[in-house]
């Protein structure tokens, strides 16, 4: 497996091998699926749309609907305006969404289609919406695309001077529906009314009922997005993913924001809870304290298996930082932290975490790829790899256990229903990590050393 990856590391300036990121539009598609009655639309040639729907379907094992402008060579030369116009008409006629959320591809971006102008010129039925964002694939990553779509919703719909509604706007970051459910559970327990944008719970984890719904029950309501300007504040979870959109809402409607890491592990969740508590001004309910206490109990129980273990973590910037933060709390050493997404903030935040825990000799890299990560591992081995499915070849080649967290996980089931965030999510991370390490011990130790009780 991966036999051609040399141990010796040579500098690469041009070729990316086995990327730890993908392109913008799929993030925008995912964000748009988190709005109720919304159909994502890809303005480009149809191959992108097919690929992005596949990516999401393979991760969630659920339908991922989206339409495309289906550019041909003619449109690519003369502009895709009429393609978009035709598409919007057909979509409202046939698929009846309340809103079409348009994103772009490298094709329409390179030719410079002016979507603002195209949308203004369009005949949009009463009570329906067409919004857009620009998502050039040659900038940033899928995470950037997610952020851009969230900002797009705000730009089109949120109004300044909206009546205060006493709600908190939560921007969830690029996480699973299971995490979004966890946020809602926590806010509910703390009696904090929220609007979460986007919210893919109920959409990408919809139940089996025997009846297919093109627009499932879940998703942020369009009316709630329109009222975001009336929120008390925004809690932006995942600094790199959510802060830019929170800033758009602040500029546009004056809603102040607090930006924090994804609530993964103890301290980040503590901070999230305290932020919510500041608003509710009520005591944190016992059920949350109980969860927290259970988590700490577990962390102490499992420490002999996690303490001092070296781990390589790859994936999206906020997710990697969140996992690394919890790994450090478990006494683990996040030897390598890699994201494919560009941005110096990732490296700065990663290094700050290491410093806080007094851990040295670890490497943090943005714009890295899995080829490089593998080379590092060949040079200095780790005990565990945490990341998406694409880590499995490295795991097998080097005989290191892999724990699947993040995007995409296309070779396992159920994961998207389960949170990694909050105290419950941390318990799940702890279980996955400890079980992987203990399974490894069971299958690799000498027969005489197999333990019945561990």
């Amino acid at each position: 497996m991966l036999d051609y990856t040399p141990k010796e590391i040579t500098e690469r300036k041009a070729i990316v091998i086995n990327p730890a990121k993908t392109c913008q539009p799929v993030g925008a598609m995912y964000a748009a699926l988190g709005v109720h009655n919304c159909l994502p639309h890809s303005h480009g040639s149809q191959g992108c749309c097919a690929f992005h729907r596949m990516f999401l379907t393979r991760h969630f094992k659920d339908p991922a609907m989206a339409s495309s402008s289906s550019f041909t060579e003619g449109a690519s030369v003369f502009g895709g305006g009429s393609n978009l116009k035709t598409a919007v008409k057909n979509i409202f006629d046939l698929y009846h969404p309340e809103m079409i959320a348009v994103h772009t591809t490298c094709l329409s971006e390179t030719i410079g289609d002016d979507l603002n102008a195209l949308i203004i010129d369009m005949d949009i039925p009463d009570g329906k919406y067409v919004v857009h964002c620009n998502t050039p694939s040659y900038k940033g990553s899928h995470v950037t695309g997610f952020t851009n779509m969230v900002s797009g919703f705000i730009k089109y719909l949120a109004k300044k001077g909206t009546e205060p509604n006493g709600k908190v706007c939560i921007m969830p970051g690029f996480v699973n529906p299971g995490d979004m459910r966890e946020y809602k559970k926590l806010a509910n327990a703390l009696k904090v009314p929220i609007t979460m944008l986007p919210d893919t719970s109920g959409v990408m984890d919809s139940p089996m009922t025997g009846k297919y719904e093109m627009y499932p029950k879940g998703g942020t309501l369009i009316d709630d997005i329109k009222e975001l300007g009336g929120c008390i504040k925004t809690v932006a979870l995942g600094v790199q993913t959510s802060e830019p959109s929170a800033e758009v809402l602040r500029k546009q409607c004056g809603v102040e924001y607090v930006s924090m890491p994804l609530p993964m592990g103890v301290e980040a969740t503590d901070n999230f809870i305290m932020e919510l508590q500041k608003i509710s001004k009520e005591e944190v309910p016992y059920e949350i304290e109980e969860e927290r206490g259970q988590l700490i109990d577990i962390m102490i129980d499992i420490h002999p298996y996690t303490y001092g273990k070296k781990v390589a973590i790859f994936g999206d910037p906020d997710t990697v930082l969140g996992i690394a933060s919890f790994a450090l709390e478990l006494g683990m050493i996040p030897k390598y932290m890699v994201t494919g997404t560009p941005g110096a903030a990732f490296e700065t935040a990663g290094k700050a975490l290491l410093e806080k825990f007094g851990v040295e000799d670890c490497t943090v890299k943005a714009e890295g790829d899995l080829f490089l990560l593998h080379q590092w591992i060949k040079n200095e081995k780790v005990d565990l790899i945490i990341g998406g499915t694409h880590g499995k070849t490295i795991a097998r080649a080097e005989d290191i256990p892999l724990v699947r967290m993040g995007f995409p996980i296309i070779d396992r089931y159920i994961h998207s229903y389960m949170p990694l965030t909050g105290y419950r999510g941390a318990m799940r991370m702890a279980e996955l990590i400890a079980s992987a390490l203990m399974d490894y011990q069971d299958s690799h130790c000498e027969e005489k050393d197999v333990e019945v009780v561990m």
Binding site: K13, I17, C23, P25, A50, M54, E73
Partner: protein, 537 residues
């Protein structure tokens, strides 16, 4: 059945109706079954189609294991075509020559904004230099994506440069996603470059008397290996496979084989035809999907070579393979007989699998292709009637001349006529329609709306399609099996494959979870007793 067709189509606006009515037909409804195909998709209709890049890199080139394929473009295209199509391969040695296998790797120039603005040729050259330095491939392919054509990067000049600079094979493919109307354009572009630059450049001669190439077999889930195993048992040498577990090493010798076997007509018929013109090699359409079609394909090969000893060996292999699966096939047939199916796959499987379904007593109520052409539906005899439109005209169609060194005549016209008498058609594909039941619905470029509407009316027991459709169907309570990825199972080709297929269908239809879809409280009273004389609920 024609009312079924109308019931769905009449819901369209007149503009869409006018377009779609020619793509959706019912078999036998008109005097002649004619369908419109290979035209542009309607924007916003929710087509399942992909693009030219997917057809070229993803389908035809991707499986060539010893070529390092550099995707020139932003990261997405390379990423999505990384390991997601199940064309299996292993590095191996043949004729003393090793073929490496790079399929676990994804190479991309990861174009950034500055590359779009200032051009990406420099970065592409550097990327090639780095790949050569790291893994030393004998062959590099460059595949372009949407923006490359727009900004005017000359990838062919770069390929030429690389070939001289590093003394390796380097071929460029201008397969920008916007070319043509579907994956199909990409097949054609890949075919052109294979015949131009690879086929005919090797000189290793086959060792056995009877040798073939298997064209349009991508070894999904090990299909190609199953086919090769059977052919080998019959004493037939497989010179090369296009392109499942295929290699630059083998494809360069393809012209030395005696016969081409075409499994997927759509994706590889260009190579088959051009090899006919250039080397005189005939091709026959085979289908190794389905027990009866497998037998027919093997017997056709025997007839083509006309050797009694070979024919006897083929019969012995058929008898043996059938013997080994008889009990299992009988069991699965007993569980599947009488069921109905709808098939919507890319450009060939919607036909091939109908024959396998027949082996188990399952009939087809709807079939369609994403991107096939009229000849795949109606048979190659309609090719002269197909008019190229604006979208397909700019896909290069190349002419080849008889090769002075390698051209030979394998069979005289009289011999061919005699074979046709026996039902073995040379250089011909009959298409999907012949042999389909009267009234079956045909849907070219089936979209989401039509999928939902037709499934509601026809209610097939199984919907065979791809990943984007699968969960749509299953949410509505209908089993869906993927005929692109085989739901991570397979092989489905050959005799053993038929059994795997039967097993997977039985497992899918009889899985207990289907019976729990409705919660018991939905149709059971929740409170015992009465309230004010009325039933409580």
């Amino acid at each position: 059945m024609s009312s079924v067709r109308e019931k769905v189509l009449e819901q369209y606006s007149s503009r869409v109706y006018k377009n779609r009515k020619e793509h959706v037909i019912a078999i036998g409804e008109h005097e002649k079954d004619v369908v419109t195909a290979n035209t542009r998709a309607i924007p916003g209709i929710i087509t399942q189609r992909g693009c030219c890049f997917a057809g070229c890199k993803g389908v035809v080139l991707g499986p060539i294991k010893d070529a390092a394929i550099i995707v020139h473009g932003p990261i997405g295209c390379a990423y999505y075509s990384w390991g997601t199509r199940r064309h299996k391969a292993v590095a191996d040695e043949k004729n003393g020559e090793k073929a490496d296998c790079y399929l676990e790797y994804c190479f991309s120039t990861d174009m950034q904004e500055s590359d779009i603005v200032f051009g990406g040729e420099k970065k592409l050259k550097k990327a090639i230099e780095e790949v050569v330095g790291l893994i030393h491939p004998k062959c590099i392919f460059i595949c372009s994506t949407c923006p490359v054509g727009l900004i005017g990067d000359d990838i062919h000049a770069v390929a030429k440069w690389a070939q001289e600079e590093y003394e390796i094979k380097c071929i460029a493919f201008s397969c920008e996603g916007y070319k043509g109307v579907s994956q199909s354009a990409g097949h054609h572009i890949a075919n052109n470059q294979l015949i131009r630059y690879i086929i005919g450049t090797g000189d290793h001669q086959p060792e056995k008397k009877y040798s073939v190439n298997v064209l349009g077999e991508y070894n999904i889930g090990g299909d190609g290996w199953e086919v090769e195993k059977i052919l080998k048992r019959c004493g037939i040498e497989v010179v090369s496979v296009f392109t499942g577990s295929g290699s630059y090493r083998d494809i360069k010798n393809a012209h030395t084989a005696s016969l081409n076997l075409v499994q997927c007509h759509r994706s590889i018929n260009y190579v088959a035809d051009m090899m006919k013109d250039k080397y005189g090699m005939d091709w026959i359409k085979v289908n190794f999907i389905g027990i009866e079609s497998c037998k027919k394909s093997l017997r056709d090969i025997g007839e083509y070579f006309g050797d009694e000893e070979l024919k006897a060996r083929i019969e012995a292999v058929i008898a043996d393979e059938e013997d080994a699966i008889r009990d299992e096939v009988e069991y699965y047939e007993s569980k599947l007989k009488g069921k109905t199916a709808a098939l919507y796959v890319g450009g060939s499987r919607s036909h091939h699998y109908q024959l396998l379904l027949k082996d188990f007593g399952i009939s087809t109520v709807l079939a369609g292709y994403e991107f096939a052409h009229r000849d795949d539906y109606e048979g190659r005899e309609v090719i002269p009637d197909i008019k190229p439109d604006a979208d397909s005209k700019n896909i290069e169609s190349i002419e080849v001349e008889a090769d002075p060194k390698f051209y030979r005549v394998y069979m005289t016209d009289e011999q061919k006529a005699a074979l046709e008498e026996k039902g073995v058609k040379i250089n011909y594909y009959e298409g999907m329609f012949k042999g389909m039941d009267e009234g079956a619905i045909i849907c070219d470029d089936l979209n989401h709306f039509e999928t939902e509407e037709f499934m509601k009316i026809l209610k097939p027991d199984i919907f065979f399609s791809g990943i984007k459709d699968k969960f749509v169907a299953q949410k509505s309570g209908m089993l869906s099996r993927q005929l692109h990825s085989y739901d991570y199972s397979g092989p489905y080709a050959g005799f053993r494959g038929a059994v795997n297929f039967g097993r997977d269908l039985v497992m899918g239809l009889y899985t207990p979870a289907w019976s729990y879809v409705k919660a018991p409280w939905k149709d059971t009273p929740c409170i015992e007793g009465t309230l004010g004389g009325d039933e409580a609920c």
